[in-house]
């Protein structure tokens, strides 16, 4: 056996480093590959024009706008609902059998395949509530899909606020709701923003949930209301990659690159906001 502790330290370090490298490498490769193949396609025209001639020419403007609308719509429904129910579950609900079942159900919802959400959205929002295939139905479907993410991360953020802060606040004669508003939520905000980042990425990138609920195959105009169909980048990417023959490879990669950039820049905004709040409150 090898006895030298320094040598074993070296082996451990090397193994850990290699493991990390194996994880990071594919991400870098994917990014590199997409940028390399796609950046030729990126031009002002590509970003700002309607698609033409069965998507073989023109740009992807409506798909970009559609994706932004969908992300926004998803957050409009999912953020308030998710945060409020997380507050209820973490701060108010008694720890009994029912609460535990609800918490378990929420965790499990995060593992449901996205196509199931798509079918659910089709059944409830498109058909039963008669929203039709629309931004409204799509946003709501995506919102339900990301709710478990938002609830789980928000609850973790709330639970990580030190109990002593709550105690001090109560001891100063501050009511429970005011304590939540003025002490707990501000401290949990960075964590909640992390949940939002995850939700945005998920909502922007999924194809299956929007397939039956909002996505238009080819719609060279912008949606006029929340009851309109819309194009969206992930579905558009799927369509031009598999459904329409003779589309230039660089257009597909260009579309993927735009989707990637949108998700990354939305995340970046959230990360900057989060860093700002972290700096203000540190413990």
């Amino acid at each position: 056996m090898i006895k030298n502790p320094y040598f074993r330290e070296r082996i451990a370090f090397t193994l850990l480093f290699i493991a990390t490298a194996i994880v990071v490498l594919p991400v870098i490769c994917i990014l590199f590959f997409i940028v390399k193949e796609g950046w030729h396609a990126i031009s002002w025209e590509f970003l700002s024009q309607m698609p033409r001639k069965g998507m073989r020419e023109g740009g992807i403007f409506p798909a970009i706008v559609g994706t932004l609308y969908l992300v926004f719509g998803t957050l409009v429904f999912a953020l308030p609902l998710g945060i409020l129910s997380a507050i209820y579950l973490s701060e108010y609900a008694k720890d009994n059998f029912l609460t535990r079942m609800v918490k378990l159900a929420i965790i499990n919802l995060a593992g449901v395949p996205s196509v199931v959400y798509g079918l659910f959205g089709l059944g409830i929002f498109v058909v039963f509530l008669k929203f039709g295939s629309s931004l409204l139905a799509g946003s709501m479907t995506l919102a339900i899909m990301v709710l478990p993410i938002i609830i789980t991360t928000t609850r973790e953020a709330l639970d990580s606020v030190p109990q002593s802060f709550r105690q001090v606040s109560y001891s100063l004669g501050v009511s429970k709701w005011d304590t939540i508003r003025h002490v707990v939520l501000p401290h949990a905000l960075p964590g909640i923003l992390t949940g939002m980042i995850l939700a945005v990425s998920r909502a922007a990138g999924e194809t299956a949930p929007i397939l039956f609920t909002v996505a238009a195959f080819y719609l060279p105009r912008l949606p006029k209301s929340i009851f309109d169909q819309a194009m969206a980048l992930p579905y558009h990417l799927y369509v031009i990659s598999t459904q329409v023959p003779n589309i230039k490879l660089e257009v597909r990669y260009g579309t993927a690159l735009v989707l990637l950039m949108i998700v990354l820049s939305l995340n970046l905004i959230a990360i900057i906001v989060r860093a700002h709040f972290r700096k203000k409150r540190k413990w």
């Binding site: 105690q167 109560y170 100063l172 003025h182």
Partner: protein, 251 residues
């Protein structure tokens, strides 16, 4: 003496564990009363009964009466917000919010909207002066409270209470995280505060009780064994158990 807190046949249970047994004690106004006793005897529990902080724990039940300023705090109609404004608390570990010094002092003011923004400067100055922090911190009002020394943090925690205008200050081993010099300073501060506040301090340090308090209560296993003028307790204790504890035979 006029009692600002009256405790009458007070019992408290954690689940089935009987933590306080028939406690009777009157806390005199504008005096310092200390509670001593070995760890686990129920000092903190009794203190928390006075501002009902035990409510935050699960499965706590009480009977008997705690009367603060003439009102039984365990009455179902008791307004906890009002009670806790009247009965402030200082904790064992200094626990300022991770905010600036000024924000800590103004914390309750802003939430209770008890003053207009133009009065904020006055409030900060008065509160910090009351705890002798003003001279040291008047130019550092915007630094994070976490950058202060532990002693300053504990002083700030006391200053944070003052804008709420409490009558009573409950202090649960306020010096246990501090070094002897800082402890001396806080004890001095308590002497100053006595003019305007009634102070109840829990301490496991008998010397501290002897130094700062007018009255001393000795608790043992949830029973109030003896309660009297500090001078009497420390010189002529009536109960054998008090004498044993004070002479260091156990505890």
């Amino acid at each position: 003496m006029s009692a600002i807190i009256q405790t009458r046949n007070f019992n408290l249970f954690y689940g089935t564990f009987h933590a306080l047994k028939d406690v009777n004690i009157d806390i005199p106004k504008n005096m310092i009363t200390s509670m001593i006793g070995p760890s686990g005897c129920g000092k903190s529990t009794l203190l928390r009964a006075y501002n009902r902080m035990n409510d935050l724990l699960e499965d706590v039940s009480v009977n008997g009466e705690v009367i603060v300023d003439g009102k039984n705090v365990n009455d179902p109609g008791m307004d906890l917000v009002e009670l806790r404004k009247k009965v402030g608390m200082v904790f064992q570990r200094p626990n300022p919010f991770p905010l600036s010094v000024a924000e800590n002092v103004l914390f309750s003011v802003k939430i209770h909207r008890s003053a207009a923004p133009k009065e904020y400067g006055d409030i900060i100055e008065k509160s910090l002066k009351a705890v002798d922090l003003w001279d040291g911190l008047k130019d550092k009002l915007n630094t994070s409270a976490l950058n202060l020394s532990l002693e300053q943090q504990q002083r700030l925690c006391i200053a944070r209470l003052l804008p709420v205008k409490p009558d009573i200050l409950l202090m649960d081993e306020p010096c246990s995280a501090l070094d002897p010099i800082a402890t001396g300073h806080i004890e001095e501060l308590m002497h100053h505060l006595k003019a305007n506040y009634t102070i109840v301090i829990v301490t496991h340090n008998m010397q501290q009780a002897a130094r700062v308090s007018d009255y001393t209560a000795y608790l043992y296993l949830g029973n109030l064994i003896e309660y009297d003028l500090t001078k009497k307790i420390f010189t002529v204790p009536k109960d054998r158990r008090t004498e044993d504890y004070l002479s260091g035979k156990f505890g």
